[in-house]
């Protein structure tokens, strides 16, 4: 579902955010992409979702070449960004309908699909409200609804549960698991919550200073009775990092 070779991104000014990353994700996998602030997680995800052009390397996403066929990649993926994309002022139903139609659905299909997705994410009845009238958990589930409207085979989630209370987090995990169980959706997610990564993901990739530094199932990584927190800190160090903002 995702295959990259030597994927790199150097920003203007010479900042090398991602340095030759090789990623392989199979259909139906839930893969966690972990790393400290500024390690290159979001930059990698933005490249894989066609929002940033790689400086070098190759990538195939959802069966299409990332550079040569970016539009076909976009048709097949869903992306939920770190900050979300909720319009605080407009009724969310209007926004969902437009989003679905931009993926080629007719108005009738868009409305049917919207009803299905809202039911799936326990959001029925909230679509006439503007984003500003929702709780943090509801807004995050609406973000996911935007990413699912067109039935993508591959879903990118950038820190999907950041800022949510434990109940909302647990609820979102259930929804992510259900996506894979019921529809075979492949999920590639970043998170800072290692308990989340442990509980949710089949496999983890740890990136630091723009390079993949560890890879394996949670069980494979937790060697010697260590917790995932211990493993993460042992690999990436204990010094504080600043967010690079890229």
């Amino acid at each position: 579902m995702i295959k990259t070779a030597g994927l790199s991104k150097t920003f203007e000014g010479g900042v090398a955010a991602v340095k030759g990353v090789d990623i392989s994700v199979g259909p139906g996998e839930i893969v966690g992409f972990l790393g400290p602030n500024g390690a290159g997680k979001t930059t990698t995800m933005r490249m894989l979702t066609t929002l940033l052009r790689p400086t070098s390397g190759t990538a195939t996403v959802a069966g299409h070449d990332l550079l040569a066929d970016a539009r076909e990649v976009r048709r097949r993926i869903g992306y939920v960004s770190q900050g979300g994309g909720i319009n605080p002022a407009a009724p969310l139903g209007d926004e969902l309908e437009l989003q679905a139609m931009l993926y080629g659905l007719s108005r009738t299909e868009a409305r049917t699909r919207m009803t299905e997705v809202l039911a799936q994410l326990d959001l029925e009845g909230l679509e006439p409200r503007p984003g500003a009238a929702l709780s943090g958990g509801q807004r995050r589930r609406f973000d996911i609804a935007f990413g699912l409207l067109h039935r993508p085979a591959l879903l990118f989630l950038d820190e999907p549960t950041t800022g949510l209370d434990p109940q909302s987090r647990a609820n979102l995990w259930e929804h992510i698991r259900a996506l894979r169980a019921e529809r075979g959706v492949t999920v590639f997610l970043t998170t800072h919550y290692l308990d989340e990564a442990d509980a949710l993901c089949d496999r983890l990739l740890i990136i630091d200073h723009g390079r993949i530094v560890a890879e394996g199932t949670p069980a494979e990584l937790k060697t010697g009775g260590r917790t995932l927190d211990d493993v993460f800190l042992d690999i990436t160090g204990r010094s504080l990092r600043e967010e690079a903002g890229v």
Binding site: L51, R71, Y79, S81, G85, N87, L102, Y103
Partner: protein, 241 residues
């Protein structure tokens, strides 16, 4: 691409119309000029000279500031969400600028109607031709405004644009024809495309259609539109926009 453009145009138009008073507020300043400055201007000039000037001023203020909308969409993440859809970048731009152009037309019709009440007597054909020119001007200014909004830091858009719009209005001859200006100012105003658009608009409102001034104004407007939409599309297409 046409379907996406229509969908986005329809969506943004609905948002604009839902605001109800937003488009009205946009036309208040030119209306105030018409009501409070027009009667004084009419003692030395004609309403057919003043109203086209106020239309250009309206265009600069209304569509020139359109980029505010995209600043808001950028901050809320809505723009990025749309950029991950398969919709073409040109459609993402055109859907927005068509909405701005339609809003400008509605505002212009209101301004012209009030102008008629005060004494404007332009021929219908001239006004209609002028409206076509105004649509193209609106498209161009909105596209450029979005490009500037996506290029500048969020906090800089408002001060930069409000600083730019006033001299551009003055240099276009919106309030007094530049033929009345001293030589250096008249020469300086020739760098502004809005001067040519405005002079063509005044000719049309005076009922003169097949003149060199109209031809030059149309040509400048079309070239300005092509350049603006090209820049706008490039900026929408650019990574990290």
């Amino acid at each position: 691409m046409l379907r996406d453009t229509y969908l986005l145009f329809h969506h943004h138009l609905r948002i604009t119309l839902r605001q109800k008073f937003g488009p009205i507020f946009g036309v208040i300043q030119p209306l105030l000029f018409l009501v409070l400055f027009g009667p004084i201007f009419a003692t030395i000039g004609t309403w057919e000279t003043l109203v086209p000037g106020l239309i250009v001023q309206l265009g600069l203020m209304s569509t020139g500031m359109a980029g505010f909308g995209v600043v808001f969409e950028k901050r809320s993440g809505v723009l990025e969400r749309m950029r991950v859809t398969p919709a073409s970048r040109l459609a993402l731009l055109l859907g927005r600028v068509l909405n701005n152009a339609v809003t400008l037309i509605l505002q212009t019709v209101l301004l012209v109607a009030v102008g008629y009440a005060f004494g404007l007597r332009a021929p219908a054909a001239g006004v209609l031709a002028g409206l076509v020119l105004v649509v193209v001007l609106g498209l161009s200014l909105a596209a450029l405004s979005y490009a500037i909004a996506l290029t500048l830091n969020d906090q800089l858009f408002a001060p930069v644009m409000s600083t730019v719009v006033v001299p551009l209005s003055l240099l276009s001859g919106a309030f007094l024809p530049m033929s009345m200006a001293p030589g250096w100012l008249d020469a300086l105003s020739h760098i502004s495309p809005f001067r040519y658009v405005l002079e063509a608009l005044r000719e049309l409102f005076a009922g003169h259609y097949a003149t060199g001034t109209v031809g030059l104004g149309v040509a400048v407007t079309v070239v300005f539109a092509l350049v603006s939409v090209t820049i706008g599309t490039r900026v929408f297409n650019r990574e990290n926009a």
